[in-house]
Symmetry: C4
Subunit: 206 residues, 4 copies
Amino acid sequence: MKKARLEAFSDGVFAIVITLLILNVKLPETDYEHLAEGLPGMLSSIGVYALSFLLIGMYWMFHHHTFSFIAEVDGVILWINIIFLLFISFLPFPTSMLGKYPLKELPILVYGINLILLNFMGFLGIVYLRRNKQLSTSLFTDAAFRTQMKTYFGVNLMYAACILIAFFSPLVSILLLTVLTLYLIIRSAIFVGIGKCILPDGRRDK
Amino acid sequence: MKKARLEAFSDGVFAIVITLLILNVKLPETDYEHLAEGLPGMLSSIGVYALSFLLIGMYWMFHHHTFSFIAEVDGVILWINIIFLLFISFLPFPTSMLGKYPLKELPILVYGINLILLNFMGFLGIVYLRRNKQLSTSLFTDAAFRTQMKTYFGVNLMYAACILIAFFSPLVSILLLTVLTLYLIIRSAIFVGIGKCILPDGRRDK
Amino acid sequence: MKKARLEAFSDGVFAIVITLLILNVKLPETDYEHLAEGLPGMLSSIGVYALSFLLIGMYWMFHHHTFSFIAEVDGVILWINIIFLLFISFLPFPTSMLGKYPLKELPILVYGINLILLNFMGFLGIVYLRRNKQLSTSLFTDAAFRTQMKTYFGVNLMYAACILIAFFSPLVSILLLTVLTLYLIIRSAIFVGIGKCILPDGRRDK
Amino acid sequence: MKKARLEAFSDGVFAIVITLLILNVKLPETDYEHLAEGLPGMLSSIGVYALSFLLIGMYWMFHHHTFSFIAEVDGVILWINIIFLLFISFLPFPTSMLGKYPLKELPILVYGINLILLNFMGFLGIVYLRRNKQLSTSLFTDAAFRTQMKTYFGVNLMYAACILIAFFSPLVSILLLTVLTLYLIIRSAIFVGIGKCILPDGRRDK
């Protein structure tokens, strides 16, 4: 299995999931005169649509970044990647749940667990790569490994906090998740480089 | 992030959205004897399907053209592009709305705002590229920048006009949008080159 | 616009349409005990699924073959190709119609017209290529042009016959369309080469 | 037809099918208070989703492995591959059936037959390749052929056993299918190589 083919397959899955999300934004089953009544439901669906779209876009970038550490794909990395994609492909389900039952704790619980499991697969991949250095590129330095570990632990902690807060105030939980997503997006944008297209440590991302 | 990978991902999203549109053309829930009664609804869905299909095809070409100006992708261009794709992926929703409630003002309003936001992201990308010339190719001349600016302002003005007209006559609004789409298609076809495959300014598009 | 990018985009649309077809094969809304009653409906949907899948697979091959005649893509070929893809993407609609109302004339009429318009776009492309020889490859000989013309006329004649026959016997019409599809598949398989992978005229397809 | 284009098309279909599966995991049509009642149905859908996702992932790897034996694609291999993809694309239907009617014999029967037909197309391809050695690569040794034959017969025997057992105990049948899938995954992971990325026979997979 060439690395490039696994990457192309993963990109395909990302592109399809991100585009399928719109199927969860549904019109209410009413005639035009009563469409206004269905508006709040539509707006919550649209908000959740945007959140999931940006999150999946962010994971796509992150997936790409992780693959810059991988020189060769073995059977374990391959299956860790497929199960990672399983959790990416699953996201439309909690997304539709969150759109249909906004500001309730159960959808946030399912959404949060999905994201935690997603991160867990990424974490597993990085740990496995660390123990099988012959599969990694020279970009996978000790510093890169530690940054990844910190990111996984930090983000999962935030996801867990969102879940816990949901039992007290679903609204605060959703707002926190939105802020976290925007923070991760800005951080990823800075990482790829702003303006001068230079990585924080002065190397160019390829 | 290599430019080629972002382009391939964008192409994937375009191909999926354009193909998903057909899921909005639904059969009425009647038996065969009463199928004729559902015909007007189906025909309006099919008309809107064709309009959105051609519009997305046109934006795909335009996206490709814009990327000929980009030499290197940084974090800002990457996220502008992802949010641009968010608005492309959203189009099936106003399309289904327009198909279900034809000749009403609200669907046209949502459809029009979607298109204006789409253009706004493209506009943002071009302005950012102008301010970060080190990311652009030699094709991104002052003349090319001005042409892009004129196109964004002109087309958004037309979209805004369609929205305004919808409050007086939805039919005229839809007809205007259709004529505008056909005009943009013919213009894009001429730009890529007719017959001799030569750009207006004598250079070949690659 | 490079030819390769238009081909990749077209391949993407083909792959998505062919895979979306399964969404039209739906389970009846009954509990398990009454599932048997919904079986005839499911079987007709499955039959139509297989027919459309094979037809689209065949058009995919044919599209690939046609592109071997094209050296450069201009604006007209580009838009002929996008409208061709519009009719490919539309096929799931008559497919679902034919599955829901089997052995009725209207679905066959819509299905047949869709196929005829599909062929018409292909025909238009070939005629345009003939008049703009500078866009064609050396494979686009006079003999190749005549073969294409004969195929379009012959197949469209058969499609028209299927539509006409549908008004007398939908069953015979569907059977004829199935036989025609199988004939086109066998013909295309022979054309690509059997066993020795040689084209009929001794050249290898690349 | 270049082998690479057929592989890319097949990869596209695999990526789309594997991602479409989530559309079968549906929310119950109840308000939030009664969501708990729909939970068992959702859980069975989710379980079947995971099973089909992993199975399709496994077939994707297997498809890739099989193509390493093919040097040139002729018309017969092309159509065997398209019909193989037809059975891959069909899997969402028995998957949704199994999710809607869990622990019933009919869905397992349909699911099992689908898998057996899938394997049959793969088997057909390998036998055809054996008889047309000029189309195969040097990797397609006698030993490789025998391994493939054994795999097809062994796995189909297990699928048939799952179907038979379903008439006595659907639960045992599903458990057996799950164990078989996990076994095939582990086996495929070992085959691609664990840790040192070396094939069982010491050659590296490319």
